[in-house]
């Protein structure tokens, strides 16, 4: 034991300058010694990474595998699953128009999030990147919705957008009674109400990312462009935006994954049942309604697997074709 501890304390550089006998262990000797005892390295890896890996395996890997296993059964959730049904659950999911509706809603949220949030976030970030009065206050205000819990946001908006809620009341009092709508239950409007809430809630996160990205754009480049006579807009278009590329691509990636997993807002605002008829159901609300609430744990697990596969495919395709440049750059940078 004492030798191993000695060896470990002997590794760091500062000891070389130490005034005790350990200084005798000079660097040429140390390197071979580490190679001689690989188990010691493994012990270190085990000790340091072990707890993290154990938690990850227990709470992520095992549940994913178990969901895959349960997905082949018809199972009420009481007692062990015994009724093996093969791929029948998957067949039912993929032919259920309600699931396809939910998938379509996820796709809509995905595209609209990118289209609506991206340009607005970049514009706000550019604005907040300039010196102006009240800049920090505005930065905080833009970020506040992101900090709020989804449940609180959902309850607040469901009260305001309810037919008898604040929004319609304000319209009435402003003499615009003709504009009042059933913002949440009207299938033509509900998904747009959802989009509005999502944009309001998540724009802050996008803005913060873009602001961070803007800090990485060297002032020299902008100055050089200014000296060459480029206007403000041309500078943003030809210099800021391309250099912001990696940030935008990462933000889009996070936004896409988030869009595929929308759950809390819909579940709290539309409850367990109304999301379907209002046209705001998502894959995740479908999973909970037809799995846990229906007491069909095998079916619900199969839905979870489908969501996992959809997300995985989207993530891999995105990484392969969009993030490739960024990740390759990082790898070559690391190897150099």
């Amino acid at each position: 034991m004492s030798t191993s501890e000695h060896a470990r304390t002997a590794v760091p550089g500062p000891l070389e300058a130490g005034d005790d006998g350990a200084a005798a262990a000079s660097s040429p000797v140390r390197a071979p010694r580490r190679r001689q005892a690989p188990w010691r390295r493994w012990l270190e890896i085990l000790l340091l990474a072990g707890p993290g890996v154990a938690v990850f395996v227990t709470f992520v890997i095992v549940p994913v595998v178990m969901a895959g296993y349960y997905g082949f059964f018809k199972w009420s959730g009481y007692g062990p699953p015994v009724e093996f049904v093969g791929l029948r659950n998957y067949e039912l999911i993929l032919t259920d128009p309600k699931f396809l509706d939910a998938l379509w809603h996820n796709g809509f949220v995905l595209v609209m999030s990118l289209v609506l949030q991206g340009p607005v976030a970049i514009a706000i970030a550019l604005l907040l990147n300039r010196r102006m009065r009240g800049r920090s206050l505005i930065r905080v205000l833009v970020f506040v919705p992101y900090v709020l819990s989804e449940v609180i946001v959902a309850i607040g908006f469901s009260l305001m957008l309810h037919t008898a809620g604040a929004v319609n009341d304000v319209l009435d009092r402003a003499g615009l009674g003709a504009l009042r709508q059933d913002w949440l239950a009207d299938p033509d409007l509900a998904i747009w109400s959802l989009m509005l809430i999502l944009v309001w809630k998540y724009i802050g996160f996008a803005v913060i990312l873009m602001l961070a990205g803007l800090q990485g754009v060297p002032d020299e480049l902008r100055e050089a462009a200014a000296i060459d006579g480029a206007s403000y807009w041309k500078t943003q278009w030809y210099i800021t935006l391309p250099l912001l590329g990696p940030t935008i691509r990462i933000w889009a990636f996070l936004s896409i994954i988030g869009s595929l997993q929308v759950f809390d807002l819909v579940f709290v605002i539309w409850g367990q049942y109304v999301a379907d008829t209002a046209g705001t159901s998502t894959m995740a609300t479908y999973m909970v309604a037809n799995g846990r609430i229906s007491g069909a744990y095998g079916y619900g697990s199969a839905v979870a697997v489908v969501i996992f596969l959809v997300s995985l495919v989207v993530a891999l395709v995105y990484q392969r074709y969009v993030l490739r440049r960024d990740t390759e750059g990082a790898l070559t940078g690391g190897a150099a």
Binding site: Y69, Y78, W270, G271, Y273, V274, T277, S294, G295
Partner: protein, 438 residues
């Protein structure tokens, strides 16, 4: 494949094997419970959903009396928030570490537990005695019996019906309470003329909307048809489509509160119960728990003074009995590994006259025990007891009877019926499909 890859692939295989092993060691045939030696100390674990003041006192009294009359026995209770109870219970039952006694909601869930061998057959225990059966009523026992096995002891019944504001009825000039659907439509018309929202509906939670379907089905279908469907899940009898048509017709009269689809049932003043509590709607179809919910939502949190109740009106030409009652029936089960006789004695004390009377004081729900029924104070409680006494049959709510899968589809389909997304034939088809899947 490199060695590293192969090692990574080995992990899921091990987990899978573990899962299979796990599933192999639980479950089994009809459990007989355990038996305690005379004087052997034991801790009886009990899970309830009673989390508030008077109810907890009721339980503490019960536990103290049971402990004093049973030497060496300790009662250890866990009171779990109602919405969390089912999930925790399911985990506990599956892990084989279940409480001895726990709240039972009956219906499809109870059948699932029984099929998994997780429930004790209480036949022949103290709670199954002829005296208690007579006092609590055979109907209550039958609802909790599957294949001749008593899977839970009855504790309460919460009949559903229409709750209304007497003041608003008077304001609209409605004399008496509706006895037929024609009377109901008449009342709706008068309320609408007086500018009052006739019916509060919490459609966001779906089951309040679905209650309208359940009760129309209760009046359209014979008791035999309803009972047979509980087993067969066969909805081909035309009465089921008729009931759906009744719901569609009712929705056509637009009696519900504005935005009922996104109105919740019980949360806050804008919920359907809140509308009734604040005189913003005249009626709500709800179970016997309504007065308590309404009380918590009135401006001063006091009971609503003009709250009245009447049984669901009879449908013109319906095959169902106008005296048939539908309501939530609840009780308590014992888990497979619990000491059988002790469990039966505990449940018998719980349903005894004394604790049924105290139960009314604590919860305000009508007592099931015949000798305890003289304690009720409210007019509507007496009305409910009367209708139970005259009842030709007592059915649980349909979603409970049909099990979660069909029940959820039914509730969902009723919402779609209200929005016009489906028609009566579509509703019957949807629940039939769900029944075929479950």
């Amino acid at each position: 494949m490199t060695s590293q890859n192969r090692r990574a692939a080995a992990v899921p295989a091990v987990v899978l094997a573990g899962a299979l092993a796990l599933s192999a060691c639980t479950g089994g045939a009809a459990p007989e419970g355990t038996t305690l030696e005379e004087g052997e100390p034991y801790t009886l674990t009990v899970w309830t959903n009673i989390t508030t003041g008077p109810g907890k006192e009721w339980f503490d009294d019960l536990a103290a009396e049971f402990e004093s009359s049973h030497e060496g026995i300790t009662v250890e209770a866990q009171h779990i928030q109602n919405e969390e109870l089912d999930g925790k219970l399911q985990t506990a039952l599956n892990s084989g570490d279940a409480p001895d006694v726990f709240m039972q909601r009956g219906g499809g869930k109870m059948k699932d537990m029984a099929e998994a061998g997780q429930l004790l057959d209480l036949t022949g225990t103290a709670v199954d005695s002829p005296e208690l059966r007579e006092k609590l009523g055979d109907a209550a026992y039958e609802a909790l019996t599957v294949d001749g096995k008593l899977l839970a002891a009855p504790q309460l019944i919460q009949p559903g019906g229409i709750w209304y504001s007497k003041d608003l009825f008077e304001e609209a000039g409605i004399a008496g309470t509706p006895e037929t659907t024609d009377d109901l439509y008449d009342a709706i018309g008068k309320l609408q003329d007086a500018g009052i929202t006739p019916i509060a509906l919490g459609g966001k939670d779906a089951w309040p909307a679905a209650h309208w379907y359940y009760f129309f089905a209760l009046r359209e279908c014979t008791a035999e048809t309803l009972a047979a469907t509980n087993e067969s899940l066969d909805f081909s009898d035309p009465c089921y489509e008729k009931a759906a048509q009744d719901v569609a017709d009712l929705a056509g009269a637009e009696p519900f509160n504005e935005g009922f689809l996104t109105t919740s049932a019980q949360q806050g003043a804008s919920s359907s119960a809140g509308l009734l509590a604040n005189h913003e709607a005249a009626m709500e179809l709800m179970g016997a728990w309504e007065p308590g919910v309404v009380m918590s939502l009135t401006p001063d949190q006091k009971p609503l003074a003009d709250l009245g109740w009447f049984p669901f009106p009879q449908v013109d030409g319906g095959a169902g009995d106008p005296n048939a009652v539908m309501g939530g029936q609840g009780g308590n089960s014992c888990s497979a590994g619990a000491p059988k006789d002790l469990c039966g004695e505990f449940l018998a004390l719980m349903s005894s006259e004394e604790y049924q009377e105290k139960f009314y004081d604590a919860f305000g729900t009508i007592p099931l025990h015949a000798d305890a029924q003289d304690v009720v104070k409210n007019e509507y409680d007496e009305q409910m007891l009367d209708s139970l006494a005259e009842a030709s049959s007592v059915s649980d709510f349909l979603d409970t009877n049909y099990g979660q899968q069909v029940g959820t589809t039914l509730n969902q389909s009723v919402v779609e019926l209200l929005t016009g997304d489906t028609d009566p034939a579509g509703l019957v088809k949807a629940i039939s499909d769900a029944a075929a899947r479950s």
